[in-house]
Amino acid sequence: MRRICLLLAAIMFYHLAVSQDDLLKELDSQAPKTTVIENTFKGSRLVNGQTVETRGKGELEFIFSHRFGALNSGSYNLYGLDKAAVRLGLEYGITDRLGVGFGRSSSDKMMDYYVRYKLLRQQTSGMPVTITGFGYASVKLAPPGDATTLNDRTAYVTQLLIARKFTPQLSLQLMPTFVHKNAVDKTIESNDQLAIGVGGRFKVSRSVAITSEYYHRLDVKSTNPYKNSIGFGVDIETGGHVFQLLLCSSQRITERTFITESTGDFFNGDIHLGFNVTRAFQLKKPKPKLAQ
């Protein structure tokens, strides 16, 4: 009996002793422990390649990408500034996790179409990474070599983008990549090719980040003339724009070409100055999530 009384007295004093700060602590203990980590990267492109990021629901992003010629192409070509490759692209967020996009590149007059879906999202506890699936098809409208039908000029790229935001500043990403080309020159490459990409970003201020990206092709034929693609960039964000200033070994902009058909050797001076400029437009207002 005495024990029960002591216990009740303790409970009572506990309740009376609950001060304002204890009320806050009580709230903390009720709060959900885990939250989704967002904004692993600023934009949808790391350098040339994709990031895990999807557009928000109802957001349309216009991406203008531009790559100059190689820096080592001499003063006659104004160190590459005379020659430029361009890609114009659009990406739309159907949901917060599902996006579709397409683009047109000037090199080989190429059309590309893609879909991406955020399969898993990194959380403060539990899920350690964000994983986005990326599926892409491209058609070269200009006939390269013997590939005369559109079907022969079509290629597919499937990527699993695996990223982790280690700190608010540092995010790293791994990109296992599978490329299938309907028609290839069998003496230099296979229809099915594998590559593994690594990349990351480091934020130096609230609006500026440094990025880099490298794609290593696996199982490359000894006669293959192409090089592995490498690139570095600076992301600058202002309002609805992300401006990415790049130095990359590839002048080609989309997955199929820069991963498997990159000709430049970065450390031999084949450096292409380039930029991606994105502008976001909110087409649909997200519906407010109602109270629980």
């Binding site: 009720q30 928000g56 109270a291």
Partner: protein
């Protein structure tokens, strides 16, 4: 002994029954600037109110503010509020002038510590408290000066973001 037990039991039950938690809530803010008006809403706040003492605490998860544009939400969390470092805005204080026995709408002053973006300020904000049939409704509208909480606006965007935002709280405590 038995009487003591009954007294203690009733007191301890009574004491715990005086604390109300939220049934539903709405926290919104509005920023009026030359180029664009920005508003956001949050329905995920948590709060506890001790009716007998008037002590109150609330906690608002920053990343649950919903905006008209998803990019605004991204910038709000990444650049201004740094919500990974400072996931919550909190308040711990007391409703001064609160009389729990009064049924009509009453004006109170919420005095206490408001923490936003990791910076704590002593504040005193006016509000109203009203007993409804099945709940207690507390409302407040007040201004928050961004500089007071070390929330920096880039010079380029000063025309887009106001230096002072108006915050509206609507807390429905279940009885």
């Amino acid at each position: 002994m038995r009487i003591l037990l009954v007294v203690l039991l009733s007191v301890s039950i009574h004491a715990s029954a005086q604390k109300l938690s939220l049934e539903k809530s709405k926290v919104s803010f509005f920023s009026k600037a030359a180029i664009e008006d920005i508003k956001a809403e949050n329905y995920k706040a948590a709060s506890v109110l001790n009716v007998s003492t008037g002590e109150v605490a609330f906690s608002i998860p920053i990343s649950d503010f919903e905006f008209d544009k998803s990019l605004m939400k991204q910038h709000f969390n990444e650049k201004y509020m740094e919500s990974e470092k400072f996931p919550k805005a909190t308040f711990a204080g007391k409703f001064e002038g609160f009389d729990p026995s009064k049924k009509a709408t009453q004006n109170v002053m919420a005095k206490g510590k408001l923490t936003i973006h990791g910076v704590t300020q002593e504040v005193s904000v006016p509000g109203t408290v009203e007993w409804m049939t099945d709940r207690l409704l507390a409302k407040s509208v007040f201004k928050v000066k961004l500089a007071d909480y070390k929330i920096k606006i880039p010079k380029m965007l000063w025309q887009n973001i106001a230096e002072e935002v108006e915050v509206t709280l609507e807390f429905n405590y279940k009885l």
